[in-house]
């Protein structure tokens, strides 16, 4: 009997040690097949991309042992949203999805995440992704912005390096021609615009100047023009007044803003086609030398100095402070939060290997990943100069004639995925004029914007019904006032309509959601 026991014990010992040995072996990483993952992403620029040929992504795949299969969708909102909806409806969701809504934001992603389409990421990040942990979980502002109402995180965001996004620009050379200074108030702005309109600063003998242009974004025609609202302490959307949520267009001072833009429009000081102009009116009108003042993105607008400067040598576009109307300090709320509303990606529930995926996402947030997704591959698209990456001609003077943004995208950088934009990128992407403008705004004019809120499913349902009507009313009736089909004073009737639709309920929901965030 004891012999038998001994044999059993020995066998057990053997088996046990063998088992332990095997387990240890499994602990050391064995070179396996790269994980194949399908990615659905909004393309960052309307150019053809072949990821297999992009050096930066080959490096990324090698380092993370992945094999990515990309499916790009046009960034045009009509196409992008529709295709996303179709994809979700078909149930055939790729492993990784990089989607943001029509005008930015991730409410849809969060909603679908709650319904089970996307995998919650907090635990994965905590266990496998140190870089993501540092920048997302440990940064309260970022964590706040990406947490869905149900408490989970469903996407890894795209982080920006700068907060100054858009501001006011004016033609310095035209100011010189009409002998005026940069305007500080709305009245001064008015006079400058009149001068631009009447004194023929482009010198062609025709009164073809469009003193002010303002690009719209999709159906949001007030995207840039709405910046004038701040001059009257008004707002085109939700705003905080001493901790209380208010809806800008319902406030009386909004009508002052409407009266002002109606005046400008009526005297042909604003682009008369602002509501329907297609294509890229900023670039077109500026290069045709007919536009004088605009409000737009710092980097790309300042960029025009170089490109248009080639055909129009005197062209000089510099920034100026937000004009003051009834306020006595210039300010703007327009900024980008570090969490960009137009980027980021999620892991879908169909993903075969979420761990490998989160590690891939983590790599992109690492220092090495940041370099690759901002600058590309050393020697090809950038070189190190005093410890700072500097772009090479492949990017700054692209042989195919592409602008800087497109060159970067075609080299695998600045894609709308979960990446971290580098300040060195910003410094080089923008020229001196842009950087100066940005710093000026960041230091002097930018005030806190309305926070990003998240809502429960019930709240979202009510908002979907009522807020959409209210926003439609705002958009359409404001346009009417601007083109002179309605007086600014009559907009008060629109406000009553909004009340009828249920503005009070909407404000209550927003207030509740806001109170939730300050309680945390």
């Amino acid at each position: 009997m004891s012999k038998k026991l001994l044999v059993v014990l020995l066998v057990a010992l053997f088996v046990g040690s063998a088992f332990l040995a095997c387990k240890k072996e499994a602990a050391t990483p064995v070179a396996t097949e790269p994980t194949a993952l399908s990615v659905w992403a909004v393309i960052a620029a309307e150019i053809p991309l072949v990821p297999e040929e992009i050096a930066a992504w080959n490096v990324i795949e090698r380092k993370t042992n992945t094999n990515l299969n990309w499916n790009f969708v046009s960034s045009l909102s009509e196409v992008k949203d529709q295709q996303f909806n179709l994809m979700v409806a078909s149930g055939d969701i790729p492993d990784i999805v990089a989607y943001y809504e029509k005008s930015g934001g991730h409410t849809t992603v969060m909603k679908l995440g709650s319904e089970g389409a996307f995998v919650p990421l907090e635990n994965l990040i905590a266990q496998h992704a140190p870089n993501l942990q540092k920048r997302i979980l440990n940064d309260p502002a970022v964590r706040e912005a990406v947490t869905a109402p149900d408490g989970h995180i469903y996407h890894v965001p795209m982080l920006s390096a700068l907060s100054a996004a858009r501001g006011w620009f004016i033609r310095d050379d035209w100011l010189a021609k009409v002998g005026m200074q940069k305007p500080k108030t709305t009245e001064e702005l008015y006079r400058v615009l009149v001068a631009f309109r009447d004194m023929d600063p482009n010198g062609n003998g025709k009164k073809d100047e469009i003193p002010m242009l303002a690009r719209r974004r999709g159906e949001d025609w007030a995207y840039n023009l709405g910046a004038l609202a701040y001059a009257f302490n008004a707002d085109v959307d939700f705003v905080l007044r001493d901790g209380k949520v208010a809806y800008g267009p319902a406030e009386p001072q909004y009508r002052d803003y409407l009266a002002y833009i109606a005046r400008l429009y009526g005297e042909k000081l604003i682009d008369q086609e602002i509501l329907t102009r297609g294509g890229n009116p900023r670039d077109a009108l500026l290069s045709q030398n007919v536009a004088g003042v605009l409000h737009d993105w710092f980097a790309s607008t300042a960029d025009l100095n170089t490109t248009i400067g080639k055909t129009l040598p005197d062209f000089k576009l510099t920034h100026f402070a937000p004009p003051m109307g009834t306020v006595n300090k210039p300010f703007t709320r327009i900024q980008q939060s570090l969490v960009r509303a137009d980027g980021g990606w999620s892991i879908s529930v169909r993903n075969p290997d979420p761990v490998a995926t989160i590690k891939l996402m983590d790599f992109i947030y690492s220092d090495e990943g940041i370099i690759l997704t901002n600058f590309g591959v050393e020697g090809q698209t950038y070189t190190m100069n005093n410890g700072k990456p500097q772009y090479l001609a492949a990017i700054t003077a692209n042989p195919n004639g592409m602008g800087m943004h497109e060159s970067l995208v075609s080299n695998g950088a600045q894609w709308k995925i979960g990446m971290v934009q580098s300040i060195d990128y910003e410094r080089q992407f923008a020229n001196a004029i842009a950087t100066e403008a940005r710093l000026d705004y960041m230091q002097n004019y930018i005030v806190p914007a309305f926070p990003l809120l998240s809502f429960t499913a019930e709240e979202a349902e009510t908002l979907k019904d009522k807020l959409s009507q209210i926003r439609t009313l705002t958009n359409e009736m404001s346009a009417r006032v601007m083109v002179g089909a309605m007086s600014a004073a009559d907009f008060a009737n629109t406000v009553s309509e909004m009340q009828k639709v249920g503005l009070a309920d909407v404000l209550k929901i927003y207030q509740t959601a806001y109170d939730r965030t300050i309680r945390k």
């Binding site: 009509e78 949203d81 529709q82 909806n85 979700v88 409806a89 149930g91 679908l112 319904e115 089970g116 389409a117 999709g218 159906e219 025609w221 008369q272 086609e273 509501l275 329907t276 349902e461 979907k464 019904d465 009507q469 439609t472 009313l473 359409e476 346009a479 089909a485 309509e497 639709v501």
Partner: protein
């Protein structure tokens, strides 16, 4: 001769019907029953069974929203404009064509007027938008040449019904005239001969012979169109509208498209679509019964 009536149908006949039965079941009848989605908060990810019930909530939302009055009004306005302006044109066109003497000339005219019907609406809408463009459109270039300010046609709310109706006239008059031409051809020529012998002038012939003879056709077509006005040609409106003039150009069908397919608000949009179906049905049935009472006209059946 074999006259015995077989007790069973030749199975071959039923086999022939299989494709259409399958097709209609899958792609017509099942979707029809799918309108139940309107009573749920449908999420395609959860699927039909797991989506929560919502009762008539979406109907209530729609009827109490600003959208209801707007899309209904726009739909009826476009339909009304059609009946008022577009309906008579094919009739007049047919009358004019019919009076052309040289057959080759007549054929030529008909060929040209029929052409726009065959061109896709994507093309026609594209051309129209182009011609009306404020800076580059021919219409405005002309206005400027005679000293007028250019008008941004596609930006003005008030213009849309006219633009839409005009384009419809442009596209479909030639085609719709064919029915009337056929009716005109069927008029007995001896009536005209007799009239001319009696000394009746052209106008008299027109009012005494021609119009009364084609009146049944006219009335029939009119009633058919009334039944159809609610489903105002969806694709045509969609291709002509833009987000600036939605206030006058959003009709029920484009609203369903926008909310349902673009906005993925499936249940809500289905509810609206159901409303349109019922509304259209009421119109068709009532105009049909009027048609039936009209003695000389055949009903839709």
């Amino acid at each position: 001769m074999r006259r015995a009536k077989s007790l069973h149908d030749d199975p071959a006949l039923w086999i022939m019907l299989i494709p259409v039965i399958l097709y209609l079941l899958l792609f017509r009848y099942i979707p029809i029953s799918g309108v139940l989605i309107a009573l749920k908060r449908f999420s395609p990810f959860l699927g039909f069974l797991k989506s929560p019930w919502n009762g008539l909530e979406y109907f209530r939302q729609f009827f109490s929203s600003i959208y209801f009055e707007r899309v209904l009004r726009n739909t009826l306005v476009l339909g009304g404009y059609y009946l008022a302006f577009a309906f008579p044109v094919p009739i007049i066109l047919a009358l004019m064509l019919n009076s052309v003497r040289k057959p080759r000339l007549k054929k030529a005219f008909q060929t040209v007027t029929l052409l726009p019907h065959f061109v896709s609406f994507v093309v026609i809408a594209g051309i129209a938008i182009n011609l009306l463009s404020p800076r580059t459109g021919v219409v405005n270039l002309f206005r400027q040449s005679i000293g007028l300010e250019p008008i941004f046609f596609m930006q003005q709310q008030g213009f849309f019904p006219f633009i839409y109706t005009f384009i419809r006239i442009f596209k479909e008059s030639g085609y719709e005239a064919i029915v009337y031409l056929a009716a005109l051809t069927a008029i007995d020529p001896t009536l005209y001969e007799a009239a001319e012998v009696d000394g009746a002038g052209r106008w008299r012939q027109l009012t005494a012979i021609t119009l009364p003879s084609i009146m049944p056709t006219i009335v029939l077509m009119f009633l058919v169109r009334i039944g159809n006005i609610v489903s105002v040609s969806f694709e045509e409106v969609l291709l002509l509208q833009n987000d600036v003039i939605l206030e006058t150009s959003e009709v029920i069908s484009t609203f369903v498209y926008r909310r349902g397919l673009l906005g993925a608000d499936y249940s809500y949009a289905t509810a609206v679509g159901l409303f349109e179906t019922v509304f259209a049905l009421i119109l068709v049935v009532s105009s049909n019964s009027i048609a039936r009472r009209f003695k000389n006209a055949a009903s839709l059946w």
